[in-house]
C-alpha cells in the first residue's frame, strides 16, 4: 500500500504543478455555470461560492455537507469575516452536486500541504488520500478537512476577493479613491463624506468585476467572527422537528421500499418467491437485485411485513467459513513475520500483542434515499458524504448520462465515515430500483440491515516491541500490524524514539473496510498509548512523567501534555477506588491529550467519572462548536472502547441492533473539561482528533486500578471473561 500512496503523491504534484495558485477560481465555463445555478434576479453570485441578494442576505454555498459536525457555520464565519458581512444576515446552503462546485479548495489544501511540507501528508491518513484520488469528483466531507482546507483556501479567499470587488464598485459609484473606503456590517463606508452603500445594492455589479484571488487576508488580530463561539445556524431547526433529513423527504405518490441483502457479503440472490410478500396488504412490487431482494409498498411498515414474509435463498459467496477468530489468526501470522527487536545493552525488550475489532459507525439515521425516474431524468434526494460522487455513481448504476442525473444533498443524522459514496451500497440500489418503477420511491434500510452490512472500521491486530534502556528511555519501537490499508502516520507516536518503525502487513478479507471517525488513529492510538503505558510501568516511572521525558522541551506536544496533567490534577489525591489514565494522540494535524478518571463497579465493569481534554489545533474558528466536537469524540471513543464490536461467525455479522451493539448512554457518559491551546500553528482538524486518546486513557486508568492490562477491545469482553 505504501507504493500506491507514493504514486498518488507524485501524480498529484505533477498535475497541480502548473496552476497551484489559481486552481480555485476554476475555468470560465465552470464559473459561468456556478453563477447561473445560484444567482437569481439582482443577486450577485461570487463564483458560486457565495451570493449577496439585493436584500443584503449573504448565502454561503458549502461544498461540505452537514452530518452534525457544525463546519458549515464555521465556514460561513470565515467567509463573513473576510467579507465584513453583517452576521445576522448570513445563511448557509449545500452547494449543488454539480461539477462546477467541485471543491478545488479542498484539493488545494491537500496538495499544498504535501508539496509545501514534505511529511505533512502525515496529517492525513493514506487511505483517505487514495480515496480522494479515486473519486476526484471532489465534494467530500471527511478527514476533518472542512475548516483547515476549504475554509482557509476557499471561504476566506472568496470573502476577501468579494470585499475588494464591492469596494472597487463603491469607489466608482461614489467617485472616490478605494483607499478612502472601509467596510463594516455589509456596508462600504466613505467616512469623509459620511456616505455609505449597502452590499446588496453593489453586489450584482461587483460580482461581474474581475475578482482578485490574491486579495489581502486579515491578520489574526483583525478577526471579528473567527475565534468567536457563535451559535450554530443549523440548531434551531433541530429542536422543533422542522429539520428535514434524507429519511424525512417525501414526494406526492411516493412509495416506500425496504431491502434484505445476502447475509454473507459477496453472496448472491439465487431465488425468491414473491407471492407471500405480494399477499401482504399494501405491498406493490418485489424487485430482485443481484445480491438482495426489495419490497415496495405504500409505507415502510407494509414493506417490512412483506419482506419478512419472504424466504429468499442466497449463496455465501465462498465466505461461509469466515469468522472474527479466523481473521485475527491470519493477522497474527502475518505480524509474526516481522523482525525481532534486540535488547539495548543493559536494557530489555517489551512486547505486546494488541487487537481491535470491526466497528460500525452506528449513525442514528439509517440509510435512506429517495429517487424518481421521469422523462429520462433521475433525481435522488438524501444525505451522503460526497454529493457529486454520489451523482456520478448513480448515473453509472442507472445507465444514464451524468447530465440526466441530479443528487439533492440533505442533512444527515450522523455519518462518521459510513456515508462515503464508494461504499454506500444504497446509491446503486436506489438507482436500479427507481429505473424499474414509474413513481417516486424511498428506500429505507432497517437498523438490522445497516449493522449487518456496514462498512466497518478495520479489524486490526498489532504486535508491538520496544526497547527500554537502563536509563528508562525507549531505545527503539516496532509495530507490526495487519489490516487492509497502510495506516501511515496514524500508526506513529508523538514521542522522540531513536528507531521507530511501523510495518504494515496487508490483510484483506471480504469485509468492506471503511473510515470510522478518526480513521486508523483510534485503533493505533489505543495500541500505542497503551503500550507506552506498559513501558512506563516497566520502567517504574509515572506514566505522565515517562511521556514527558520523551518529548522535546518547548514543543507543542509537551505543552499539551503538561496542560492536561495540570487541569486534571494529575498526581493529587483522588477519592478511594478512583484512578487516572493519560494518553496523547496526534491526528489530522491536531494534538490532543486526555485524562480519564475511572473506578471499577462491583461486577468488574468500568465506571467513568470525568474526562479532560487539551487540544492544540492551531486556531479554533468556533470554540463553542469545537468543544462540542471534542466532547462527542471522547464519548464515542469511550463507547467503542467499553462495549462496541462487530463479530463475524460463518461469514455472517453477529450483531443486529442497538440491543447487542451497545452505545454509551447518558448515565455512563462523563462530563468533559475541554481546553484549547491557541498556538497559532498551522490549522488542524477538529471533528475527529478528540476520539483516539479516549480508549487508551480509560484502559490506562483501569490498569492503575486493577493491574490488568487491556490489550484487546472492547473492554467488557476482557473484564467479564
Amino acid at each position: 500500500m505504501g507504493v500506491k500512496r507514493r504514486a498518488f503523491l507524485v501524480g498529484s504534484a505533477a498535475l497541480m504543478g502548473g496552476g497551484l495558485f489559481a486552481v480555485y477560481w476554476g475555468d470560465n465555463s465552470a464559473r459561468k455555470r456556478a453563477v447561473e445555478l445560484t444567482a437569481k434576479g439582482k443577486d450577485g453570485s461570487f463564483l458560486g461560492w457565495m451570493k449577496i441578494g439585493e436584500d443584503d442576505i449573504v448565502t454561503v454555498y458549502s461544498p461540505h455537507i452537514d452530518f452534525g459536525q457544525g463546519s458549515q457555520t464555521a465556514l460561513a464565519q470565515m467567509l463573513a469575516d473576510e467579507l465584513d458581512a453583517d452576521w445576522s444576515k448570513v445563511k448557509v446552503e449545500h452547494a449543488p452536486a454539480d461539477p462546477a462546485f467541485a471543491n478545488s479548495a479542498l484539493g488545494r489544501g491537500f496538495i499544498s500541504d504535501m508539496v509545501g511540507y514534505p511529511g505533512v501528508a502525515a496529517a492525513m491518513p493514506a487511505s483517505f488520500i487514495s480515496m480522494m484520488a479515486r473519486s476526484m469528483n471532489l465534494q467530500t466531507t471527511g478527514g476533518s478537512s472542512a475548516v483547515r482546507f476549504t475554509g482557509q483556501h476557499g471561504m476566506r479567499v472568496v470573502g476577501a476577493a468579494a470585499r475588494a470587488a464591492l469596494v472597487a464598485e463603491a469607489a466608482d459609484r461614489l467617485k472616490v479613491p478605494a483607499t478612502e473606503l472601509t467596510t463594516l456590517d455589509s456596508r462600504v463606508i466613505h467616512a469623509k463624506s459620511n456616505k455609505s452603500l449597502r452590499y446588496g445594492e453593489l453586489a450584482q455589479a461587483a460580482a461581474g468585476r474581475s475578482l482578485n484571488s490574491n486579495a489581502k487576508l486579515k491578520d489574526r488580530k483583525e478577526f471579528r467572527y473567527i475565534g468567536q463561539g457563535v451559535q450554530r445556524l443549523d440548531i434551531p431547526a433541530k429542536v422543533d422537528g422542522s429539520a428535514i433529513y434524507g429519511i424525512d423527504f417525501t414526494l406526492p405518490d411516493m412509495r416506500v421500499a425496504t431491502i434484505m441483502m445476502a447475509p454473507v457479503r459477496d453472496g448472491k440472490l439465487t431465488s425468491v418467491d414473491p407471492a407471500p410478500a405480494m399477499a401482504v396488504n399494501g405491498v406493490e412490487k418485489v424487485i430482485k437485485l443481484d445480491d438482495a431482494v426489495v419490497v415496495i409498498a405504500k409505507g415502510y411498515w407494509q414493506a417490512t411485513k412483506g419482506l419478512q414474509a419472504l424466504a429468499p435463498k442466497f449463496t455465501d459467496g465462498g465466505h461461509g467459513n469466515l469468522s472474527t477468530a479466523s481473521i485475527f489468526a491470519a493477522q497474527d501470522k502475518l505480524n509474526a513475520t516481522g523482525a525481532k527487536l534486540t535488547a539495548p545493552a543493559g536494557g530489555k525488550v517489551l512486547t505486546g500483542d494488541y487487537k481491535a475489532p470491526f466497528l460500525h459507525q452506528a449513525m442514528m439515521e439509517p440509510f435512506a434515499l429517495t429517487a424518481h425516474h421521469k422523462d429520462g431524468r433521475l433525481d435522488i434526494w438524501g444525505g451522503l458524504q460526497d454529493p457529486l460522487a454520489a451523482r456520478m455513481m448513480a448515473a453509472e448504476s442507472a445507465g444514464l448520462d451524468a447530465g440526466d442525473v441530479m443528487f439533492h444533498p440533505m442533512i444527515m443524522g450522523g455519518g462518521f465515515g459510513r456515508r462515503f459514496p464508494p461504499y454506500s451500497q444504497i446509491i446503486d440500489q436506489i438507482a436500479k430500483i427507481a429505473m424499474q418503477v414509474p413513481y417516486p420511491v424511498k428506500l429505507i434500510w432497517s437498523r438490522e440491515e445497516e449493522l449487518k452490512h456496514g462498512a466497518y472500521r478495520p479489524q486490526v491486530a498489532a504486535g508491538l516491541q520496544a526497547g527500554l534502556g537502563s536509563n528508562k528511555r525507549m531505545t527503539g519501537w516496532t509495530s507490526d500490524y495487519a489490516q487492509f490499508d497502510d495506516a501511515g502516520a496514524e500508526a506513529t507516536v508523538p514521542y522522540t524514539i531513536p528507531n521507530f518503525e511501523a510495518r504494515h502487513h496487508e490483510y484483506i478479507s471480504n469485509q468492506v473496510n471503511a473510515y470510522w471517525r478518526s480513521v486508523n488513529a483510534s485503533q493505533h492510538g489505543f495500541f500505542n498509548e497503551s503500550f507506552v503505558d506498559e513501558l512506563a510501568h516497566e520502567a517504574g516511572e509515572d506514566p505522565y512523567q515517562f511521556r514527558r521525558n520523551h518529548l522535546k522541551a518547548g514543543s507543542r506536544q509537551l505543552l499539551v501534555l503538561d496542560t492536561v496533567a495540570q487541569r486534571s490534577g494529575w498526581g493529587k489525591p483522588l477519592p478511594e477506588g478512583h484512578a487516572l489514565g493519560i494518553a496523547m494522540v496526534e491526528s489530522f494535524g491536531t494534538i490532543v491529550a486526555e485524562v480519564v478518571e475511572a473506578s471499577v463497579n462491583e461486577d468488574g465493569t468500568p465506571k467513568i467519572h470525568k474526562a479532560w481534554a487539551v487540544v492544540d489545533c492551531g486556531t479554533t474558528v468556533n470554540p463553542l462548536n469545537a468543544a462540542a466536537q471534542i466532547e462527542g469524540g471522547i464519548i464515542m471513543g469511550l463507547s467503542a472502547a467499553i462495549g462496541e464490536q462487530i463479530n463475524i461467525d460463518k461469514g455472517v455479522v453477529v450483531e443486529s441492533n442497538f440491543s447487542d451493539y451497545p452505545i454509551l448512554k447518558l448515565a455512563d457518559a462523563p462530563d468533559v473539561d475541554v481546553h484549547f491551546i491557541e498556538s497559532g500553528a498551522k490549522m488542524g482538524g477538529i471533528g475527529e482528533p478528540g476520539l483516539p486518546p479516549a480508549a487508551p486513557a480509560l484502559a490506562n486508568a483501569l490498569f492503575a486500578l486493577t493491574g490488568k492490562r487491556i490489550r484487546q477491545l472492547p473492554i467488557l469482553n476482557q473484564v467479564k471473561a
Binding site: 451559535q231 429542536v239 422543533d240 429539520a243 428535514i244 429519511i247 449513525m363 468543544a627 464519548i635 442497538f658
Partner: protein
C-alpha cells in the same frame, strides 16, 4: 376502520392498519417527520413521543392502542404563537444538537422528566434519559436540563 385520536391537540383520523407502529402512522400518514426512526425495537428512543403525557417509544406501540388518547410530538411542544417550550430554548442556549437526529426524542424525554419531577436530581436525569445520542451530546443535555429547571446558568461557556 380509521383510528380516531388526538395529535398535538387536534382530532385526527388515521387510515392505517391497526398493527402499524404509531411511529410510522405519525411520519407517513400524518407527515409529522420530527419523530425519528432509529432502531424499530424501542432501544434508542429517537421515536419518543408523549401518549397521554407518558413518554412512549412510538416504534413499538401499535397505532390502534392510541385510539381515543392524546399524542404529543416534537411539533406540538411549542406554544400556538410559535414560542419554543423552555426545554427547546434550553437546548438552543446550551447548543446541544450536533447531527440533531436523536434530539426530538431527547427533548420529549426531558420534558416528560421535568413534568414528573419538577427539578430533577442528577440521579433522576441518569435514570430517565436513556435515549441514545451517537454524537455524544450527553454533557450538554445534562446542562440544558439543569438550565431549563433553574438549576444552572442558561448559556454554555464561550457563547457569544
Amino acid at each position: 376502520m380509521p383510528i380516531e385520536t388526538t395529535v398535538n391537540g387536534k382530532a385526527v383520523s388515521i387510515n392505517a392498519e391497526p398493527d402499524t407502529p404509531l411511529l410510522w402512522a405519525l411520519r407517513e400518514d400524518l407527515g409529522l417527520t420530527g419523530t425519528k426512526f432509529g432502531c424499530g425495537i424501542a432501544a434508542c428512543g429517537a421515536c419518543s413521543v408523549h401518549v397521554d403525557g407518558e413518554i412512549t417509544r412510538s416504534c413499538s406501540v401499535p397505532v390502534s392502542e392510541v385510539a381515543g388518547k392524546s399524542v404529543t410530538t416534537i411539533e406540538g411542544l411549542s406554544a400556538p404563537d410559535g414560542t419554543l417550550h423552555k426545554v427547546q430554548q434550553a437546548w438552543i442556549d446550551a447548543q446541544v444538537p450536533q447531527c440533531g437526529y436523536c434530539q426530538s426524542g431527547q427533548i420529549m424525554a426531558a420534558v416528560a422528566l421535568i413534568k414528573a419531577t419538577g427539578t430533577p436530581s442528577a440521579a433522576q436525569v441518569d435514570e430517565a434519559m436513556t435515549n441514545i445520542c451517537r454524537c455524544g451530546t450527553y454533557p450538554r443535555i445534562r446542562k440544558a436540563i439543569l438550565a431549563a429547571t433553574g438549576q444552572a446558568a442558561t448559556a454554555v461557556e464561550g457563547a457569544a
